[in-house]
Symmetry: C2
Subunit: 408 residues, 2 copies
């Protein structure tokens, strides 16, 4: 339950020991995850960590939901190639409130220790800061991938950005954490907590990193600005529909990272799909229903599922379309992209191989006439690139529909 979906645990042995010790002593572990209240709207990407916190909470450990109101004054430079514009204290306070409301859709508000790092960071004096900073060197900081990149590309790194990882590390000292959760992109910052705890004579925290979840396109990380996110505030119908649009491959990742299902249960489901016991679309419906129910009521999830099925049928796509097996290695199907890195699926060829067009010429004309849809959506180049190859797409040309099953 604890390691399900985790990308990296440093060190794994220590986590096992500490869990064992906690069971023996009956003393819960203290598990922290920090969130900068920079964006007031959470999406499912943010819930990956929250759900892992929930798993610890379910097992009886003390979960600390840390609102980085003081670190937000800096702005986490992780993955950024420019210095962030800091938020005002007023924006931060407002965002923090919105945050809590959304977070308690996953975490138990009674059992969760909600803290703000202004509690201890704002008490640091000039001399405290000097002593904290004395623990690290410029070179160590520039080892961080994004700093390193900016430094080499002569993009400015403002000095206050160097404080961020140190402040985050000091949070772990102040909270005496046994473990800290974060995304894999947070590794540098998370490890600084271990450094500082050692310096302050504390037991070093375990760092548990969760993967960065892909958005609906299955390629880029889920992000509001990339328009591939599902917000936790979205109505049940929209949430359900968006989840139904993901590829089969991404579906399994969402099962792992966005639900509480055990790894063994997910493996069983995958086996059922592989053995034709469970239709992949049914597995996806189950996923969409499970996640939607988590953020809304069961009734809302049921309604969303019914509406979606109706709409889907209207669009002429159903589960009862004929299946065509197509080999990914069919000649002329996949070529080198002109503008993209990597490969490109050629849609006219796929339509021909699927039996919807007699030639690629005819298929090209039909595509130009907007007569082709994929999974009920009008064809778009983006769909072809990012979803079709990983999915079992239902193609429609005029009134004819087929579902492609990839082989090889």
């Amino acid at each position: 339950m604890i390691t399900k979906g985790a990308a990296e645990i440093v060190p794994l042995e220590a986590l096992k020991e500490r869990i064992a010790k906690s069971i023996t002593t009956g003393k819960p572990m203290r598990i922290k995850a920090g969130f900068d209240p920079t964006a007031p709207d959470l999406h499912l990407g943010h819930t990956v960590l929250l759900r892992k916190l929930k798993h610890f909470q379910t097992l009886g450990h003390t979960v600390i939901f840390l609102i980085g109101d003081s670190t937000a004054l800096i702005g986490d430079p992780t993955g950024r190639n420019v210095t962030r514009k800091p938020l005002t204290p007023e924006q931060i306070a407002a965002n923090a409130e919105t945050y809590k409301e959304q977070v308690f859709k996953i975490l138990d508000p009674v059992k969760t220790e909600v803290r703000y790092n202004s509690e201890w960071l704002n008490k640091l004096s000039y001399y405290d800061m000097v002593k904290l900073m004395a623990q690290f060197t410029v070179s160590q900081m520039l080892e961080r991938e994004d700093f390193h990149k900016r430094f080499n590309e002569e993009q400015p790194i403002a000095l206050h950005e160097l404080i961020y990882p140190i402040a985050q590390g000091y949070d772990s000292v102040a909270l005496e954490c046994d473990a800290e959760l974060g995304g894999t992109d947070q590794k540098f910052n998370l490890m600084r907590g271990r450094d500082l705890q050692k310096h302050y004579g504390q037991q070093q925290q375990i760092v548990l990193m969760m993967p960065i979840i892909e958005g609906l396109d299955g390629v880029q990380k889920m992000s509001k600005s990339l328009n591939n996110a599902i917000g936790v505030h979205e109505p049940a119908g929209e949430m359900y529909g968006k989840l139904m649009s993901v590829s089969d491959a991404l579906m399994w990742r969402y099962w792992t990272l966005l639900t509480d299902l055990r790894g063994s249960e997910i493996a069983q489901m995958q086996a059922d799909v592989a053995g034709n016991v469970l239709h992949p679309m049914q597995a996806k419906k189950n996923l969409a229903w499970t996640i939607t129910k988590g953020f809304h009521s069961q009734e809302d999830a049921d309604t969303a599922a019914e509406s979606w099925a109706k709409l889907f049928q209207q669009r002429g796509v159903s589960e009862n379309v004929p299946v065509v097996k197509v080999s990914r290695s069919s000649e002329g199907l996949i070529g080198i992209a002109d503008r993209h890195e990597g490969t490109e699926l050629r849609m006219p060829k796929l339509l021909q191989l699927a039996g919807l067009a007699s030639s690629t010429g005819e298929a090209t004309r039909k595509l130009a006439e907007n007569a082709v849809s994929v999974n009920g959506d009008k064809f778009s180049e983006k769909l072809v690139q990012e979803a079709v190859l990983g999915d079992s797409p239902t193609l429609r040309l005029g009134k004819k529909s087929v579902r492609v099953e990839w082989v090889g």
Copy 2:
């Protein structure tokens, strides 16, 4: 008076304007020099800045003697290739007291504004520090020569060292300085005051840099650890004697940087020596007396001068020795040093050219017998390298003495 001895003034025009404005408005300028109370014993090297402060004080400006008790907690990394070990607050407080006592041998204790930068630095909060550091980038800091060197040589630069220049700059903001004095090696730090004053909407301070004075050897900077320094606490006799040991070239530099004599007066003295109106040894005696009197009483200076003259005569060196003119370009006199960078004066050849030995062979033997003295001191290789070429040395071999005057 203000520009005498200054190595660089940034910007000179602004200094002129601000002095003119001060005269018109009758409002004194605020002139700061900061001292880290790291070494409790001041030597004459430290007094170069203090004397420049005194000149401003004499002209009626407000002089701020800033004791960097908070910056000393970091340790100025200027010119260091390793991170300094910070002093304890107790050491700093004790050193600061010793400092003041010595400083008021030069500055007027009534007119001097003594400040400690803990007044404002210790009030800085975490957020204040974040905002201050946001004004600078990592690259800007690494432009500083010593940081740059350490970074390129993969010597660690601790992050707290980056705070030092910023804290020093913030001192100028807190004190609303019109000008800051410092050594040429302090340029990077001094300029940060201009940056931060601009950021805080203040008029930018003028930066007046004094040269780093050479120690008794005339080559390396005056430093207690290099054993070439004269401490302000040294007895009058020792101070006088050490000053009499400097080369003629260094004597003029000491006149400029270690006395209140005007530039025009020094130029007149140089002309007198060149025109044989004033004997260089007399000019040096005047220097030693003037400086000694400044740190002791006139009576002490007189006594020191008398004792020195008696001792000098006993050693068989007097002003009435015959003068031999020797060309620096004499064949065989100067060769390439084996172990030193640069050139080496060959002492046996000099003794031959000065007429004290009939051959270099004889001179070499006499040197081996320790029969040679230079300016009353037994010959040592160090003397040859560092003082003899810049001086008019009195050489003695057995009972014969000559004074060398360099030509060409």
